[in-house]
């Protein structure tokens, strides 16, 4: 695994050879219907895919933040309403579990034989998705504030806490730290990031049994609590929009945010030039003496529905590959950390690349991980508020998860 990762990632972000571009779309006929999240990178892809329309080919796109609640129902019917779903590591799971997406090996062999391995997402030996961009949460720091407080750039969370204390002690900021710790999905993601940094596994190998009630889980929770002690007391409401706003307002100096926020933060809108110029994106810190950055790596990719004709599937695949053409990536360098050889690393992608290169682990693509995520999101707030012990919080998570996983048929 590590050899592959080092080999793949060392080149993926810089000099990966081969091309995914196809000149023109070359589609004979068929209907393409895309369901996807709504952000700049996907807007660029769907615009390019739409350019394939005409002469027997229709291309429509539904870009919405609610894509996750729509894609499975929209792909269940036969024929499916959507022929393409753009998903991430977590949201591919419900589609995989219900067999709503088809293996892409034949389509790749026919239409994109040069597709690099780094773009292939395989499950059980079959390519189920084509990944096109990477994302991860990592450290954003303010170089000027750290300098003012006289501390070095932190590379571990222990150093982040120390730096936060120094900033507070120097009277620069009372609450310099922010993570996406809003109760629910965001808080669960923070815990998983921390927990993955300990090297721990969320589940016993090969089963759906939870395995977070251990010292790694407690260490991850305690580190989160230490960090939130330096956060604004509202931290249990923080989502990506909130932490970005705090950053752009100059209220925080050490934040852990999504890499995809790097572009908007480093642009010349919404913030002061002095803040933007001293903002640096770095790898996710490690903690507890472990070497693994405490974050999870995410990819976004596209999948093709099972319940559509082969003609539509071929048209959909070709249209999406046209959407991912080199020209699209070149024209939208700032929109994402593209998994494409034409992508030039920018300061906005430095944190994601550094995290991946220092060996951060991917978010687990397991059939039942969504249930764990939900259980974590609902049961960790009380610990961070101080009204419950770490052990009790983890026991609550395990109990809630086990009940849910049993009702979903993963545990007997």
């Amino acid at each position: 695994m590590n050899m592959f990762k080092t080999a793949a990632l060392g080149t993926a972000f810089a000099v990966l050879s081969g091309t995914t571009a196809i000149a023109g779309c070359g589609i004979a006929a068929g209907n393409v219907s895309i369901i996807a999240n709504d952000f700049p990178a996907i807007q660029a892809i769907s615009e390019a895919a739409k350019a394939c329309a005409g002469d027997g080919v229709t291309v429509t796109a539904n870009l919405t933040k609610e894509h996750q609640t729509l894609n499975a129902p929209g792909m269940t019917g036969n024929p499916a309403e959507y022929s393409v779903a753009v998903i991430a590591n977590s949201s591919i799971v419900p589609l995989l579990n219900d067999g709503l997406i088809r293996p892409l090996d034949d389509l790749i062999a026919q239409y994109a034989p040069d597709l690099p391995n780094v773009n292939k997402v395989t499950v059980d030996g079959k390519v189920m998705a084509v990944a096109f961009m990477a994302n991860a949460q990592h450290l954003f720091y303010r170089a000027d504030i750290l300098e003012q407080a006289g501390v070095a750039v932190p590379t571990t969370y222990e150093e982040v806490v120390a730096a936060a204390e120094a900033i507070r002690a120097a009277g620069i900021m009372e609450t310099p730290v922010a993570l996406n710790t809003g109760a629910g999905w965001n808080l669960a993601e923070e815990f998983i990031n921390m927990y993955m940094g300990t090297g721990g596994e969320l589940f016993e190998a090969g089963t759906a049994n939870a395995s977070i009630e251990n010292e790694n889980g407690v260490a991850a929770l305690n580190m989160l609590k230490e960090l939130t002690a330096y956060s604004n007391p509202d931290f249990l409401t923080f989502d990506s929009n909130a932490t970005q706003a705090l950053w752009e307002a100059g209220d925080t100096a050490l934040s852990v945010m999504w890499g995809s926020r790097g572009g908007p933060i480093l642009d010349d809108e919404g913030s002061d030039a002095s803040i933007v110029s001293s903002t640096v994106l770095a790898a996710a810190p490690t903690f507890g003496g472990n070497a693994i950055p405490a974050t999870t790596l995410w990819w976004d990719g596209f999948t093709i529905a099972t319940n559509i004709s082969d003609e539509d599937a071929a048209a959909s695949f070709q249209a999406m590959m046209a959407g991912l053409a080199t020209e699209v990536v070149e024209a939208n360098q700032d929109a994402a950390v593209w998994l494409n050889p034409a992508y030039q690393a920018t300061p906005a992608s430095a944190g994601v690349v550094a995290s991946a290169q220092s060996g951060a682990r991917p978010y687990p693509m397991l059939p039942y991980v969504g249930l764990m995520h939900t259980a974590l999101g609902e049961n960790l707030a009380e610990f961070l508020q101080g009204s419950e012990s770490a052990e009790q919080a983890l026991a609550d998570v395990t109990a809630a998860y086990t009940t849910a996983a049993t009702a979903q048929g993963f545990l007997q």
Binding site: G182, D234, P362, Y368, T403
Partner: protein, 342 residues
């Protein structure tokens, strides 16, 4: 009306109710009694841009066979209702056995998601409903006494909280009570506490949500009561004045009795609405401090693994809860109805 005419008259709406209310309810009940099929898990390897990891996947063919054998899923009886994420009978019994006193039992009970949600839901209903009725009546009486010229604009402004979509309304207020928002800053100044945050503690979050509930509920009560006020006969009011009744006595002994059925109506609607509170908790990002039966359902349906059985069970429990809440009001209405017939 002859029975036959009544039957044909009511048939279309009865059919619609059967189709759109009764059948979905039956299907929800059936769903809540089943859980998903056993998912056949295979151990495999998954690879992506970041390398390969040992992994598991659902064996689609084997699972499809199980699904075909029992399309509804596995029969679970009341299992979902009694499980830890709902009524948690086993956990409650255990908490009762191991508790040293009521306080420790209570804290153990509040650690269970259903009871935690129920506690907030009931508190919200109990606080918001009476306040909405009282303040709605007060606003209606106030507006009723305004001169004609100012009445129109006042009514419009009073209705605004109801016109604004709940989610948007709560989001706007959420931004205003932020430590950097106009209300948040004002509160910090009033209480001379720069660290004061309405979002940080459970108590303040609850108060904020109650306030929002009252704010958004008043217009409805106001509209109903204002309409009702127009029907209060002038003669009776004048007679009461001649008898020397004060303003307060006229309201207490003439206006309020006249509007009795309207109070019942508003109470019914408000009880039902408040028991299903959802939007403010989402809008105020208050999930850390408050959960309701509806947010539990919302959470079950939102994750990457959608939990239909669990959501269905909570829905049925919500319906039962609403039915219990409404019983006193309905019994009272029924009695009044019978009395009038006699």
């Amino acid at each position: 009306m002859p029975h036959r005419t009544f039957f044909w008259f009511i048939l279309p709406s009865a059919l619609a109710m059967l189709l759109f209310i009764a059948f979905p309810l039956v299907s929800v009940v059936i769903q809540s009694l089943h859980i998903e099929h056993e998912q056949v898990i295979i151990t495999t390897e998954s690879c992506g841009p970041f390398g390969c990891t040992p992994s598991t996947a659902v064996d689609l063919e084997a699972t499809a066979l199980l699904k075909e054998a029992a399309p509804l899923g596995q029969w679970n009886g009341l299992g979902t209702y009694l499980s830890r994420n709902h009524l948690a009978t086993a956990e409650v019994a255990e908490a009762w056995r191991s508790s040293t006193g009521l306080a420790s039992f209570g804290s153990k009970l509040m650690n269970l998601p259903f009871y935690k949600a129920l506690a907030f839901t009931m508190a919200y209903t109990a606080v918001v409903t009476p306040l909405v009725i009282l303040l709605g009546l007060a606003v209606a009486l106030g507006v009723n006494n305004l001169p004609k010229l100012t009445k129109g604009p006042t009514i419009f402004i009073s209705l605004l909280p109801m016109i604004v979509t709940p989610l948007v309304g709560s989001l706007i207020l959420y931004w205003m009570i932020d430590a950097d928002g106009i209300l948040g800053k004002a509160l910090q100044w009033v209480f001379d506490d720069p660290a004061l945050s309405l979002k940080a503690s459970p108590l303040l979050t609850w108060l904020t949500l109650f306030t929002y509930g009252v704010w958004s509920g008043i217009p409805f009560a106001f509209v109903v009561f204002y309409a009702g006020l127009q029907g209060v006969p002038e003669e009776t009011l004048e007679a009461a004045m001649i008898d020397g009744a004060s303003r307060w006595e006229r309201i207490r002994y003439v206006v309020v009795p006249y509007m009795g059925p309207l109070f019942v109506f508003v109470a019914l609607i408000q009880l039902m609405d408040n028991f299903r509170v959802l939007e403010p908790i989402i809008g105020f990002s208050a999930q850390a401090n408050a959960s309701s039966l509806s947010t539990e359902i919302y959470g079950d349906l939102l994750g990457d693994n959608v939990q239909y059985a669990s959501a269905a069970a909570t829905s049925v429990l919500t319906v039962i809860g609403v039915a219990i809440l409404l019983t006193p009001v309905l019994v009272r209405t029924w009695r009044d109805f019978n009395r009038k017939v006699v």
